[in-house]
Every structure is written in structure tokens, then in C-alpha cells.
Amino acid sequence: MPKDHGIGASQKRREDVRFLTGRGRYTDDINLPGQAHACFVRSQVAHGRLNGVDTAAAAAMPGVIRVFTGADFEGVGGLPCGWQVTDRHGQPMQEPGHPVLAQGKVRHVGDPIAVVVAETFEQARDAAEMVDVDITELDPVIDMKAALADGAPKVHDDLSSNLCYDWGFVEDNRAAVDEAIRNAHHVTTLELVNNRLVPNAMEPRVAVGDYNFATDDSTLYTTSQNPHVIRLLMGAFVLGIPEHKLRVVAPDVGGGFGSKIFHYAEEAFCTFAAKQLRRPVKWTCQRSESFITDAHGRDHVTKIELALDKEGHFQAIRTETYANMGAYLSTFAPSVPTWLHGTLMAGNYKTPLIYVNVKAVFTNTVPVDAYRGAGRPEATFQLERVIDKAAREMGIDPVEIRRRNFITEFPYATPVAVEYDTGDYHATLDKLLEIADVAGFDKRRAESAKRGKLRGLGLNCYIEACGIAPSQLVGQLGARAGLYESATVRVNATGGLVVMTGSHSHGQGHETSFAQVVADMIGIDENMVEIVHGDTANTPMGMGTYGSRSLAVGGSAMVRATEKIIAKAKKIAAHLMEASPDDIELKDGRFSVAGTDKSVAWGDVTLAAYVPHNYPLEEIEPGLEETAFYDPSNFTYPAGAYACEVEVDPDTGKVTICSFAAADDFGNIVNPMIVDGQVHGGLGQGIGQALLEGAAYDESGQLLTGSYMDYAMPRAGDLPSFTIDHSCQTPCTHNPLGVKGCGEAGAIGSPPAVVNAVVDALQRAGHSNVTHIDMPLTPSRVWAAMQG
């Protein structure tokens, strides 16, 4: 019987009515009195020396208030990078400057050079075309391996090369891994590309800066997943504004997927310009602009080798990856190919020896940073593809080879520095085989064959590290921030609660699921709990939402704060009933004295806290409000198994997804309906990566896929209905909710299933030489593969 309230119930989302009626309040819906509009002048070349910017003609255009250039930002800090990676030789990564507006050079198409601020956006845009930029074009570096060649043009003249870092993990394992691969019974090698993606949240980025000279307060409204992080980075490192004079508001935000974690130049610009001009300054990103300014995702080129014994047991893994950083280091970019990728190379399997090498490379392209999954999809894709290839080479069933190598005992310390607390990989794989009806595949394949279509089945497992992250651990790994989360629970006199969280909801339904958690703990109606997020002025300092962390870390902070509330409320109840606090029980919103019929209601206690006429003032303070910060002791490890069936048209190479099934273990689940949606969305993006999406640059550094005409987003007709299950639950052992996180799983687990399925279809049709096709699997690529 499904639950009808509290933890485990599929409560309808309370945020939906405002979105469904057009009453959401997104950043672009905010217009301040006296607001001016900003239009950025951006580099049209990938690499060039900036000789000068003549703003005279633009400044004389109608409505122009001021034209800003890099000269205005000479005394202003650059955009900081939040993570420092140490290379194989113990040296820090090469870390270039990242100016708000270009200083001396432009380094990618889209690099901001100047900004026109005018009375209207149209006036700003017209004037921006009159800014005369004198650039000497330089040879760009676009391909990563070419960027590392001797004599390659340097993206940053002050660095020794285009190599950001050469990372080895675990460096001490390197010789043993080499030895194991040399002596192995069988080694399967695969070279592949993890295609560059453009995140494409459907809401483009927006920033509105405001300044009050009377109080010296600055306010920034922005499309962010983490307003406190923006306040800290922009205030402390860029503009020099202390936190108490800077408020950052991220209201309703239209999707993030990672791309709205980072601190962007436009946020700093609007805040800076509002103070300079004493007027609010608004910038709304055009879609064509977002393609060349939002941080991109993925873009790895990898060689992976898997050594096996004669029974198919994994002996060692060695990988070599080139990871594109783009032209600058975006906020968390260095951590993605390293600590979010190398640490997951064990997957669900007990491989004793693993060595991961990553060379991070600067190129004249848009910066690359975390995008849904961030590093973990790259690890999963190469591992699950090479396992499939090895199974085929050794004549072992792809399900069987995985089972043979599963980790089955927990906790399990991998050779790549993480310890899985719990899991049951056989259970999710069993569930997958059931819900995907793998047993019926041959029949469906025969039916497809009758229609002239090549049917294939692909499956894979995945594991991810979520609940980011233990602060002390990530501090050792180079993070320049802590990754705890915060919550303040304010109980009002008449018993209602306001929970202020540092997490941020931009589609995840926190206003509903977080309320379920707190209401369940107290035993009151969920409508008595309001969730507040997105404004640094009324939420405690928290690190925001990404890395499937909100419930595992933010929810845990909420639990801790609510526990404090309950402990204090019990003392008040004990006083009211003249009993010992130790004897007080809380159930269904009533406090009772154990073993007696004495009880008081939740509302009696909260009222007493604020009207303390009969109250133990000498022992406890009046009021009922508590704050907690929660720092996890480990990551969480959601895992699962995915299956995809495809039909390939042998005449055109077109791939159609016939079915997609996902069996996930997310530990405990607060709102199953919301979890379903998170999985669906991840699958949509993962299938999009596998079949449709790919950012392409030409050799001059122009983005060829800069609009929805060229960049193929998954549309309703491209995707199937999904079959999903999350009944396999091994609760997380180290957070109070036992939850693991579900936001990224679909995007992590689905690309290898799709590619495995297409390769399977072609293999079964006799194309035995086709062992891999790089994503996206467009008809032309699949057709070319079939032609040999």
C-alpha cells in the first residue's frame, strides 16, 4: 500500500500551481525601477591579440549610458577557480587568470570584450555593433592533442604550455598496473570519445544587479544553483564586497544541470555596473550567446585497457584521458576529470589494480565544467563499453561477465580511494532483467527482422559518488570550499514551520519533498511546513544544489535542525506536564508522558515557547528556532543496471530506441513520484548524448553547433516511454535519512546502454568488425560503420 503522507509518499508538488499558471517568478521576470540593459560585445575569433577597443561611436548612440571595457576591470579581481589539482609530480596545476572582460587577449569565440549599457536592450544591442574592436588574429588550438604538441600556440602566454595538469591516480599503483597488463591472459583495449555537450537549460542565464547608495548594499538576482557560493566567490574574490553588504537571490530557476553552478562574468559585471551607474543593470542571455558562454560538459578523449584472467575476472584497468578545460578554468572544472572521474573507475567491480591518467588541456574553446553527472558519466561510459567489448572477445555473456566481477561485500574500499558503504548489484541486475523482459528479446528481435530492422540489446551497470561531499576529504583533494549544507528551522507561535535551506531547487521539487521530511519527523501535516530557499538574505550559508546532494546533505542538515527543535520542544512539554524530559514522547504531533494519559499538542508547546508565561526561563530560552550544518562523513553510492533495445535501419543507419529500462538503488526514497521524474530527465539527457547531441568546433574555433538548428536536442518524438524501478533499496549507512541521491543517475547510466545496444544490433547482423561507434550515434556514423 503506497503511503499517503510523510516520507515515502508520492505527494503532489506544491510548486506546480504557480508554474502551470504562468505565475512562476524567474530572474528574467524581474524588472527593477530605473533599470538599464546590458549587451556584451564578444570575440568573434577563437584566439587573438586585443590591440584596442574604440568605444566612441558606440557611446554616441541613442540611449547609451556607458560602454565598459577591460580597462574598467584592471583593478578588479578575476573569476576564481574553486579547485586546485596536484599533478603526478606533486606540482600544482597551471592556473591562468580569468578576467571579467578580456585583458590583452581573447581566447575563445564568445569571450567578453566590452559591454554597452543603455536605456533599452535594443539600444544596447545596436550600440554594441558600433564598438570597434582591433584584434590581431592568432592561430588557435582546438584539438587537445595538437594543443600539447611542441610549438603549439599557447592559450595563455604566461603559462609554460597548454597542459593544465598531468594527473596520475593512484600514482603508486602505476608500475603494478603496467605489470599486470603485461602479464594478463587477455587485454581488451578501447579508444573512445566522450562527446562535448552544451547543457541547454531551457531558461537562459540572466543577471540583474542593483545598488543602494544610501545603505551601500549590493543585490544580484541571478539564475544560480547556489546563491551563497556566488556571493562568496563574487564578493570575496572579484568585487571585494563583504557578505553583509551583498545579497544574492536565485528565485525560480529554469533548470541548471550543472551549468548554473559556476560564477560567470556577467554576474560580476551587472553587480559592478549597477554600483558604478547607480542604476539597476539587467542582462538576459540570448540563446545563441548561451551556446558560446555557458560552460560546456564532457569532452574527453580516452584509451582504456582492461586486463582479464581466463575466466573473465578483471585483473587491472589502465586509462589515459585527455580532458578539455577550454580557454579558462571554470569554477569546478579541474575536479571533474579527476576526483569525480578517476575515483569511479572501479565501477561495480572488484578490480584489484587501477591506474588513471588524465591530461587536462587548455584550448581556444568555451570552458568545460560539470554537466549532469560530471566525470561519472565519462568513467561509466568507458568502463561499461570496454567490459562489453571484452565479453564479446572472450565469448562470455555480457550479464555473466559483470556478475562474475561484482563487489558483493560492504563496506568495500576500492583501489581508487573511495569506500562504498553499501549496495547490492546482483539485486538491481536481477530486477533489470525482469523489468526489461530480457528473456523475450529473441522473439522481439525476430519480429524486428521481419520488418527489415536490426534489433540489438545493450545493458550495463553504473555506480556514482553523490552526496557531495565530506569537507575534510575534498579539502585534501584540492577543493577550496567546504561542501556541507545548512538548514534553519523556525517554528512559529501557532505551530507552523519555515525551513530555510542552503540547497536550491530548480526543478527538483524540494519545496514538496523537504516538507515531507520535516513534517514526518514531527507528525504534523505537510502543509504546516514551508520551504524557503534561494536568497542569501533569508537562508543560512549553504553550498547549493548539484552532485545529487540536496536530500543526502541538505536533507540531513534539516533532520539535524529538526532534531534540535524536537529536543527543545520536549523540554517545554515536560515543563507543561510537570514531567521529566526523558519521559516525553512525540507522536503524530502530540507530546505525551510515557506510561500516562497526559499529553499536550504540538501547538500548545510552540505557543508556550513564544508566550512564555508558564515556562522554565531559568533553564531554556524562549522561542523555537534552530540551525544545523551537516557535513557528510562519506559520499553516497547510488548504483543500478540499465538496458536499452534499439532498432537500426540497415539502409539509413537511423537508430530508434524501442525500450529503455532502469533499475536503480537510491537507498531510502522520500517521494517516489519525484524520483521517477529525476530518473526520466537523466535518461533523456543520456540518450540525447548517445544519439543526438554533440558540440562541434571547426579548426578555426568557430562553434558549428551554435543554435537549435545545428545542435540536436532530444525532442518528444526522439525518446521512448521509460520502464523504471527503484524498489531495490540498500539505505546509505552514514546519513540520517539513508538516502543516496537520484538526480544524475539517468545521465550517467544510459549512454553505454544505448551504444552497447547499437553495437549488439550490428554484431548480430554480421558486422563483426564493428566494436565501437563514437557518440552521438547519428545515422551517418552508424551507416558508415556498417560499410566497414
Binding site: 503532489k12 508538488r13 510548486e15 506546480d16 500551481v17 504557480r18 508554474f19 502551470l20 499558471t21 504562468g22 505565475r23 512562476g24 524567474y26 528574467d28 521576470d29 524588472n31 535594443e122 541547454n200 537549460a201 531551457m202 531558461e203 537562459p204 525560480d252 530557476v253 529554469g254 533548470g255 544541470f257 538576459t284 540570448q286 540563446r287 530548480h506 526543478g507 527538483q508 521539487g509 513520484m673 519525484i674 521517477d676 521524474g677 526520466h680 530527465g681 537523466g682 535518461l683 533523456g684 539527457q685 543554435s707 537549435y708 538548428m709 536536442m713 532530444p714 525532442r715 518528444a716 518524438g717 525518446l719 516511454s721 521509460f722 539517468g746
Partner: protein, 159 residues
């Protein structure tokens, strides 16, 4: 250049506004009439977030000029509910959790309503192809399709 005076109907209400000749209907709705439910996702007619109907025809309001709606009837997301009574599509979107961040939702609802006015009994495939002009990055479309089919069934029963 002088502005153009436009008299039209928006969600059943008579409306007058002045706009530039080059101003899109979307900008008029958002900036002059404070109807911010319609969203700009691309400005090129590729994402459908700005979908409205003009004279009963489904359009991307970013590709229609404000001046073009003189004497026409415009319907936006703000007019879909009857007061506080939600349209069956809106109710089914809640029931099936067919939205996440909400930014594409107004456009999808307007487009889905337009479909059901033409075809009260669409197949799943027909819904998927009709809504192929509306991008959603959050949901993978699965629940949207189910919600539209469920709303269609309920509306057929009621009629």
C-alpha cells in the same frame, strides 16, 4: 519612429498597447502587458517556450510581431485556468508530475491545449509529434505525454 497603436483581445479581455514596429508579440506580452508566463527560450522559434495562440492558431510569440495581433484574439497561459479553477491539462500535469523547473511548461500546456482542440483523441505518437516543437530539458517528456493523454481522456468523458 512613432509607435504603433494596437487594439486586440488577450485572454478574452480587450487590450490596447503601443509598440515598436519591430517588437515581437512575446516582448509585448512580457514587457508591456506584464504577462510573463510566456517565456523566451531561444528567440528563433525552435523551443516553443513562448507558445500562444493567435486567432486560435498555435504560434511562437517570439516570431510574431506585436503589431500583427491588431483585431485578433490572443490566448496565453495566463488565460488557461478559469479563475482559480485549473484546466484539465493543468490538473493532469500536477497528477502526473509532468513538469520540473517549469520554464517550458506554459508553452507545452498551450500547445497541448491546441492539439486537443483539433484532435480530442490523439495517440501517443500523435502527442509526441505535436509536442516535438516544444523543448523540455527536465522531464524526458514521458510524464508530459502521459498527462496529455490522461487529460484528453478526461475531457472526452466530460463532453
Amino acid at each position: 519612429m512613432s509607435k504603433i497603436h494596437v487594439t486586440t483581445t488577450v485572454n478574452g479581455d480587450p487590450v490596447e498597447f503601443l509598440c515598436e514596429a519591430s517588437e515581437s508579440l512575446l516582448d509585448v506580452l512580457r514587457d508591456r502587458l506584464s504577462l510573463t508566463g510566456s517565456k523566451e527560450g531561444c528567440g528563433t522559434g525552435d523551443c516553443g517556450a513562448c507558445s500562444v495562440t493567435v486567432g486560435g492558431r498555435l504560434v511562437c510569440s517570439c516570431l510574431v510581431l506585436g503589431a500583427e495581433v491588431e483585431g485578433r484574439s490572443v490566448e496565453t497561459i495566463e488565460g488557461m485556468a478559469e479563475g482559480e479553477t485549473l484546466h484539465p491539462l493543468q490538473r493532469m500535469f500536477i497528477k502526473h508530475a509532468a513538469l520540473q523547473c517549469g520554464i517550458c511548461t506554459p508553452g507545452i500546456l498551450v500547445a497541448a491545449k491546441s492539439l486537443l482542440e483539433r484532435n480530442p483523441d490523439p495517440t501517443e505518437e500523435e502527442v509526441r509529434y505535436w509536442l516535438a516543437g516544444n523543448l523540455c530539458r527536465c522531464t524526458g517528456y514521458d510524464k508530459i505525454i502521459r498527462a496529455v493523454l490522461a487529460a484528453a481522456a478526461e475531457m472526452r468523458e466530460a463532453s
